[in-house]
Point group: C2
């Protein structure tokens, strides 16, 4: 299968990078074609701006409606966005490898959502969730977080499980576009981990990636 | 009081901009000192990078630990971050005026969280939530969202209320730093609004801002 890995960490010696490298290795060795979007490596621009479009439609600049306009003009987006859109379209599976910062993704990855998952390309009026334009493709989040795992419960310090914290991404972003979302792989407490702890997590991730096609569906934990 | 408005929209004729202008007007007319962080206007850089620090502490670049290091070196941050930190420190109330994109804030504002709310400045080891370094200050989110309000329920299309969707910001970011968080003002369905609908929302916002000091505390809707 064609697999796109979107990766959002700046440090090659980070644990997030180790997870990304493992994903490339496991998926390639299984015969998949792996394509990378290394957002820091590419110097990806995070901020939605007017010059994201070859031409703009109106004086009142509504980013979403400009996306729809550009999509209608045979994808009249700036080259960096167009390149990412082409990767998304070619992908059958999108794997996002990221640290969790402030209960969300780093700004560089949020900017990828804002700019690349454009109206008219990944969703449209009446074409969201089960009718999203990326339906038929799959997605999975592979994430690291620093805080201790006992914080990540409804009764813990964070007052929410990892699944609840990730609802804006898994449901509000990936499922919104029609992607078939897998249960995320979230490594908590990575700051305090020793070598054995890291190896154990990488082993678990390897298992999940080796069985990606039977990987469990993400459940909405609000219901 | 000293009030900092952090504003994250690119379009002066947008409804989000109208809400920001109203906030400036109402709060100033009540005798508050209003300071702005107009992120698009300032060309704020969203992406956490090595050059956010005057000097770096280690070859393995851990952004959070570099923040702590810079905080210890009498705030050895890049000038743009330092300027924002000084505004945050001087503020008694922080009001964030933003659209909701992908169940979260635009990347430019996420980058403000990532870069400005630094370890050692707004929180620290053992100094989170009720012990956060911004305790004693207040915060309130003023947000707009395009989708219809019926989607924003646990049983609606988005499978979550606005409060649940905003948990990563209200709890995981603002309350995490010790800020006393007010109930957010969220205007849903703004894309389909006519002039009367907009005026009604602005009237409600004006009431909330005029009574900011008695404004209700944010409740954690998970509990």
């Amino acid at each position: 299968m064609n697999i796109l890995i979107v990766y959002a960490h700046h440090e090659p010696s980070s644990f997030t990078s180790a997870m990304k490298n493992l994903a490339i290795q496991v998926l390639s060795s299984q015969g998949h074609t792996v394509v990378m979007s290394d957002l820091y490596g590419q110097g990806f621009s995070a901020v939605a701006q007017k010059w994201d479009f070859v031409t703009t439609r109106a004086e009142h600049f509504n980013y979403m409606l400009e996306q729809k306009h550009a999509a209608n003009l045979d994808l009249a987006f700036s080259p960096d966005i167009l390149g990412e859109i082409e990767k998304v379209r070619a992908a059958e599976v999108i794997i996002i490898v990221t640290p969790i910062w402030w209960f969300s993704v780093p700004a560089i990855l949020k900017g990828w959502f804002d700019r690349v998952l454009a109206m008219g390309v990944t969703w449209d009026s009446g074409k969201i969730y089960e009718n999203g334009l990326l339906r038929g493709k799959q997605a999975m989040l592979v994430a690291t977080a620093g805080g201790p795992s006992r914080y990540y419960h409804e009764k813990g310090r964070h007052l929410a499980s990892p699944q609840q914290i990730l609802h804006p991404i898994n449901h509000g972003t990936l499922a919104f576009c029609g992607l078939n979302v897998h249960e995320p792989f979230v490594a908590l407490g990575v700051l305090g981990l020793d070598q054995a702890g890291r190896e154990q997590i990488l082993k678990e991730l390897q298992f999940r990636l080796e069985h990606l096609m039977d990987s469990p569906q993400w459940l909405n934990y609000y219901n």
